[in-house]
Each structure stands twice: as C-alpha cells, then as structure tokens.
Symmetry: C2
Subunit: 196 residues, 2 copies
Amino acid sequence: MAITTIAVLLFDDFETLDAMGPAEVFGCVPDCRLRFISRSGGEVISSHGVTVVTEPAGVPRFEALLIPGGQGTRRLCADSEYLEWLQRQVGLARLCMTVCTGSALLAATPLLDGLRATSNKRAFDWVTSLNDRVLWQPRARWVRDGKFYTSSGISSGIDMALQAVADFRGREQALEIAERMEYLWNDDAQNDPFAR
Amino acid sequence: MAITTIAVLLFDDFETLDAMGPAEVFGCVPDCRLRFISRSGGEVISSHGVTVVTEPAGVPRFEALLIPGGQGTRRLCADSEYLEWLQRQVGLARLCMTVCTGSALLAATPLLDGLRATSNKRAFDWVTSLNDRVLWQPRARWVRDGKFYTSSGISSGIDMALQAVADFRGREQALEIAERMEYLWNDDAQNDPFAR
C-alpha cells in the first residue's frame, strides 16, 4: 500500500506532542506529505497555546489519517454531529492512527467495535467506559488491528509512527529516521512501562 | 529564579519537534505560559509543513527563550541583521535554550564564546565550524553553562526541557511531567547514544 499523504486532524485543545511527534516522523519519510486539517479549516489552538493553520477537511486527499488526543476530545466525544463527520473521514483513509485519547473519538463511534485498541493509561478508565465492544489492551505501547493503529500516552505516538513507517516503508527507513531524530525508539509494542 | 513565561522563537523551516517537544514539556508546568514568537510575527512554516501563527517579538515579555534548529538556521546564520536582532532577544532572557542546530544561531554570534555547548551530532561539523571559541562538547545529550542550555539532536530537546524543569521547579515536577507524557526521560546529560 502506498502511503504518500498523511492528514493530521486537529481540533481545539489537541495535545501538542500527540500530533507533532508523529508529524516529525512522517515528515522525514521521503515522498510523503503531511496535510493539517480540521473540520472547517482555519486556526486551531493546542492545549499549550500553539496556533496551527489548518486546511478544511475535504480539500486534501489522503491515504492515512492521524488523530491526536487531548482535552478537546472530551467535548467532541459528546458531539454526535462531529462524530458522524469523523466516521466519514476515517472511511476515506486506508490507514487510521490515533495517539493518546484520540482513540476515545473512535470509541465513541462503532469504528473500533470488535477490534483491539489502546489509549493513554491515565485516561484509560474514561476511554474504555465509552465503548465495551472494543477489545481494550491495558498493556501496550501501541496496537495495530485492521487499518487502525492506536497508541498509548502522548510520547507513544512517536514509537507508533516509527512502527507504521517500518510496516509500510521498511524497518531500515524507520531506523534511519529514529537515528536522524536522535530518538531511542521503543520498538516493542508489548513494552509498556506506563501500564498500571 | 521564577520562570513563568517561555517564548519559543520560530522561523521558516524550523524543525517541528525541536520546538514542539519542549513546548509539550513546558506547557505541562503549572503557572507557566508559552508564547510563540518570530521576528515579525505572523505565519511561520516548519520543515514538515506545520503553519504556526506567531506573535511579533517585542510583544510578549518572557524570562526564558527556546530556539529550535532546522534547515532554516542555515540561511539565518548568514543573515547578520537577523543575528544582531537575535542577540538582543537573548539579552532579554534570563535563560536561553537551544535544540539541535539552534545552537548554530548562537554560535554565529559571540554569545557562546568561552562557554560549553553542544548540537546535533549529524550537523556537528558544520555547527562547530561556525565558531572555534565555543567549547564544543561532542558527547552530551545536553549542556548547561551560564544561562544557556544547548541540546543535541531533535528529540534531545525533550530531555533538556525536563532537566530545566527539574532545575527550576524541582525534580518531582519533572518526573510527574515525564510520567504524564508516558516518556522515558534520559535524565543523564552524559548519556549520549548518538555521539560519534
């Protein structure tokens, strides 16, 4: 599967590193382009005050979609109109990745029903309470099932993104990017030092 | 020393994670505010296509200044007007931190003369060639000397930022933030797995 465009879905109060860690990884992949989108486009502000200019969803075509977590997911999980729109966006992607409570947004839809998934261990009780048809994994740095990758807390998105690069572009490419980033890649999805 | 406002200095072609890794860390410090600035304000685009809205320098007051690296530093290191302006900004800060080739910008001024500093190990030959009066450290995850913290490659900025939190807010605060980020902090500045 050729992944050449990855859309990063942003919303107000997204967690900064959830989006920007994987963005650094994918931004280093040759012939891979990032697009930053939101439902309506325009300026979106992270939990830490980073104002990012986004394109409206529907403009860029993409093969993969990355969904960060953050405080903003709490509000959106109760917004049925947003969730219906989100399901359509995920339907357009051949690959969908979440970081942290980004998986809460998917769990608030039927998209993960019957699939294995994980989330931030500090928010685990809340996220898992949203949907008991998801096969929640309490000990996992990240999980891949079907077209979904879900990762654990904030920095785990970097490890997951490197694994996605390994899966689709080869392990050598992932190792090269980790080296370039001077990043010690935790490349074992089962090695979750933050599991309860 | 009370650090309550940290300015993140952005410029076109900054390296995404150089800025956003430490931003995540400092953004998690209670009673600490981030401001994103550039010389003239307005939209700034990272190497990976992240468009960030910045305030013009001179608007927010700050105690600490964070300078990322990235391809954009190559051009700015040859821009004497920018470098003179940068020196004035650094002069306003009680604490100045660089990530990756952010230290190249300081090395292109006399600010680091006689001080110990480091930089990205892949760009080390270029950065060190800019100024032989700096006491360059080839094996260091980060270095603190005087009011300057300089860190190594991209992801090292997260380790350095956590150390700065430990220095100014206490080690417990730094450990709490690393745990919240589910990040395995390399807290030993001498542990540099990427040194040549």
